[in-house]
């Protein structure tokens, strides 16, 4: 018993129909203080506990476990922090697979020839846990401790914004494949290049697809996560929709990573003059796209068209929603149906899809394809530069203009690839179909979406 505490018979506690916290009317904290009267053998020594926790933490954050091999004289080392855990773990894994496929194929095809030397390629990556600050630390570590030659991008705009500043400081070129916000390219940095089409295209291509219908949707509700990429996409969508005769009846942002969206979906349900808007456009991430669809079903919200900028193109979307994924539109940086004739070893989108499936056992998503394309950009820039000097490779990247399985890779003055179009996909019978633009489409856009009760 601790000193100073009154001994109260246990029965007096038991007869009180009260809390398990404190004796009523008794404001003293309970005598639940540690230490004293403890048989010391019960205690693990504090340093041991601290050490184990630290160890567990290090393992969890991937500091101790990471991929790739060390740089040797004839190996070019590419570094990348990637989100393998956390909110964008799915997209991060697809990014990693894209990089890995490029590394595997480039080595299988003899490596990169620079002058008379042939370099093999190796990838060093860390898990950034979907945290942009962590991503920046890891970028620094890759440059200073691992001495990588070049940097591939992380997953997502927020992380890319952080990492590009580090790349700029150390003057190491970074080709990123998974950050599309204008903000990335508007800071006057010279060492950042992005192979993907800019954010403004994401919603535009889906709205164009909707407007190409014989009886297009008249009202649209736009919901968006509040990160910089999603907001940029959403505001571009609002401008495009209202300037093309679609009425934007609801426009709302929600916290990025929100788990429940019933609040705004309830407001959205009656936003089109008391009715459900014809089209629901979500600008956010895969998890929120899935949540939106699930909750639309729960709340019985039946729009004629659902469209999400990010989500439908990832394989998870179909597996987690099942039949409810059908009819949903998505925008895609790349689809296997597109008809490009590239100069790279993949050549065509169809061939890339085949090799990818052989390697990883599942369909490639655009995240994988654009990540592979980032590797290709480096590969051809290094060859063109005839050097592995970071400055010369940067200059070669700035001049790059190649056609690949992924489409054209060519950077404008800011480093963005504004020369490649995007595509609209639709989930049809549990499969991804390309429905717009017409030249690359392999299926008709199914419209309108039947109500949830009639599927």
């Amino acid at each position: 018993m601790m000193g100073g505490e009154a001994m109260i018979p246990i029965c007096s506690y038991l007869h009180l129909p009260q809390c398990y916290l404190a004796q009523p009317g008794h404001n003293q904290p309970l005598p639940f203080r540690p230490i004293a009267a403890v048989p010391p053998r019960l205690l693990l020594p504090l340093p041991t506990v601290l050490f184990s926790v630290l160890l567990a933490f290090l393992c969890a954050t991937g500091l101790l476990a990471c991929g790739g091999t060390a740089s040797s004289s004839n190996t070019l080392l590419f570094g990348a922090p990637i989100s393998l855990t956390g909110s964008t773990a799915t997209e991060g894994r697809l990014t990693l697979e894209g990089y890995q496929l490029w590394v595997k194929e480039v080595n299988a095809h003899g490596g990169i020839k620079v002058g008379n030397t042939t370099y093999q390629v190796a990838l060093k990556y860390y898990d950034d846990g979907s945290s942009p600050t962590r991503s920046a630390q890891l970028t620094q570590q890759l440059i200073t401790a691992d001495k990588v030659n070049f940097l591939l991008g992380p997953y997502g705009t927020s992380a890319t914004l952080q990492d590009e500043a580090i790349a700029e400081r150390y003057k190491i070129p970074m080709v990123e494949a998974n950050g599309a916000a204008k903000a990335i390219f508007s800071r006057g940095f010279h060492y950042i290049f992005g192979v993907l089409s800019p954010a403004s295209e994401y919603a535009k291509v889906m709205l164009e697809a909707a407007l190409s219908l014989p009886n297009p949707p008249k009202t649209v509700a736009i919901i968006s996560a509040n990160d910089s990429f999603s907001e940029e996409v959403a505001s571009a969508a609002r401008d495009f929709a209202s300037s093309h005769g679609m009425e934007v009846v609801y426009y709302q942002t929600y916290p990025s990573g929100a788990t429940d969206l019933t609040g705004i979906l309830t407001a959205l349900k009656t936003s089109a003059h008391g009715a459900v808007p014809d089209m629901l456009l979500g600008s956010g991430h895969e998890s929120e796209a899935v949540t939106t669809m699930k909750e639309c079903k729960q709340l019985n919200i039946n729009a004629k068209l659902y469209a999400f900028t990010v989500g439908p193109a990832t394989p998870d979307f179909i597996t987690s929603l099942g039949p409810d994924a059908n009819y949903v539109l998505g925008s895609s940086q790349w689809t296997p149906q597109e008809r490009y004739q590239g100069i790279d070893f993949f050549g065509t989108p169809a061939n890339y899809e085949r090799i990818y499936k052989q390697t990883f056992g599942h369909e490639p998503s655009y995240q994988s394809a654009e990540s592979t394309a980032a590797g290709l950009a480096f590969q051809y820039a290094i060859q063109n530069a005839g050097s592995i000097d970071p400055q010369k490779v940067r200059d070669a990247l700035a001049r790059l203009n190649i056609m690949t399985f992924y489409g054209v890779i060519r950077f404008d003055a800011t480093g963005a690839n504004t020369f490649k179009p995007m595509a609209t996909i639709q989930i049809q019978h549990g499969q991804v179909a390309t429905v717009y633009p017409k030249e690359v489409a392999n299926a008709q856009l199914l419209y309108p979406t039947p109500p949830f009760s009639q599927r």
Binding site: M7, P34, A60, P255
Partner: protein, 290 residues
């Protein structure tokens, strides 16, 4: 009618949040352990329910007792094997231990199930009662009812059964309880097991309603913490009160003109600060645990 729908959403979500916080509140109240692994137990419950649904075709609601039993065993083992060894060490040690457990469990879940997002689609998802424009989804209604039943059952168990009283007694005065012949280590293991079982129940209901991935454990630990502070320790009904208050910040406040949902976390935490200033014991707390 919008207002009615918002109120229904709020009540349903609030009760669900109560289920999220119930086990956390019990463990904190009785054992004075802020169980940072609570979210990990929710995760295990969610994945157990997911696994049972996809492999054995057991509905998450019907399989709830199984999920709870599994989690009870896990919680019992964790308490008996790990936490009991440091229970009398300074607060920080249990804090660190549960933090480590959280990382460990979440990583094991990720190893087993990968980081892909999972979701359950039952045949009745999307069905509901429709009154005019008011729509009450069955699955959410069921989850809310189960949450209230669990709260009431826990309260009954603690107040009216010998074992429950022993738990309360241990929480009030460990040493006196031991003198009365209560086996403290077993009571702790039982309490922690119950806490884990309740977390498992919450997980099984969450996976039915939302897509789930292994990174979400921490989110729910944080929410459980806020809910318990809002509602107050000391009684299971505190978790319900806290859950409803927290749900208010997420469903009703975003619809007020000029605020918007971007601020719901800020509002929830502002509420927490207000409660701490004006009613530090929480809404229903009997006394704030130091």
């Amino acid at each position: 009618m919008l207002i009615a729908q918002v109120i229904v959403n709020w009540l349903l979500l609030g009760c669900l949040y109560a289920a999220v916080a119930l086990g956390f509140s019990l463990v904190w109240g009785i054992m004075n352990i802020v169980n940072l692994a609570h979210g990990a137990f929710i995760l295990v419950g969610a994945y157990a329910a997911y696994w049972a649904f996809t492999q054995l075709h057991i509905d998450p609601f019907l399989g709830l007792p199984l999920t709870m039993l599994l989690l009870f065993c896990l919680g019992w083992l964790v308490q008996y094997g790990a936490i009991n060894r440091v229970i009398r060490a300074p607060f920080l040690v249990t804090f660190l231990l549960t933090f480590g457990l959280d990382l460990l469990i979440a990583d094991v879940v990720q190893l087993l199930f990968t980081s892909d997002r999972r979701s359950i689609n039952t045949v009745y998802s999307g069905l509901g009662l429709t009154v005019g424009t008011l729509h009450i989804p069955f699955d959410r209604l069921l989850a809310a009812l189960i949450a209230v039943i669990l709260t009431a059952a826990l309260s009954f168990f603690l107040q009216r059964t010998r074992l429950g009283n022993a738990i309360l007694a241990t929480g009030m005065d460990r040493d006196a309880a031991r003198l009365m012949g209560i086996r403290i280590d077993r009571i702790y293991a039982l309490t922690f097991g119950l806490g884990a079982a309740l977390a498992g129940a919450a997980g099984a209901m969450l996976v039915e309603l939302y897509p789930f991935d292994p990174s979400q454990g921490g989110v729910f630990t944080l929410r459980a913490f806020v809910i318990v502070v809002l509602g107050g320790l000391g009684t299971p009904w505190g978790a319900l009160a806290g859950g409803l208050l927290f749900g208010l910040a997420e469903t009703v406040v975003p619809l007020l003109p000029g605020i918007g949902p971007g601020y719901d976390d800020a509002i929830a935490f502002a509420l927490m600060v207000l409660v701490l200033i004006f009613r530090p014991r929480g809404l229903l707390g009997k006394a704030f645990y130091a």
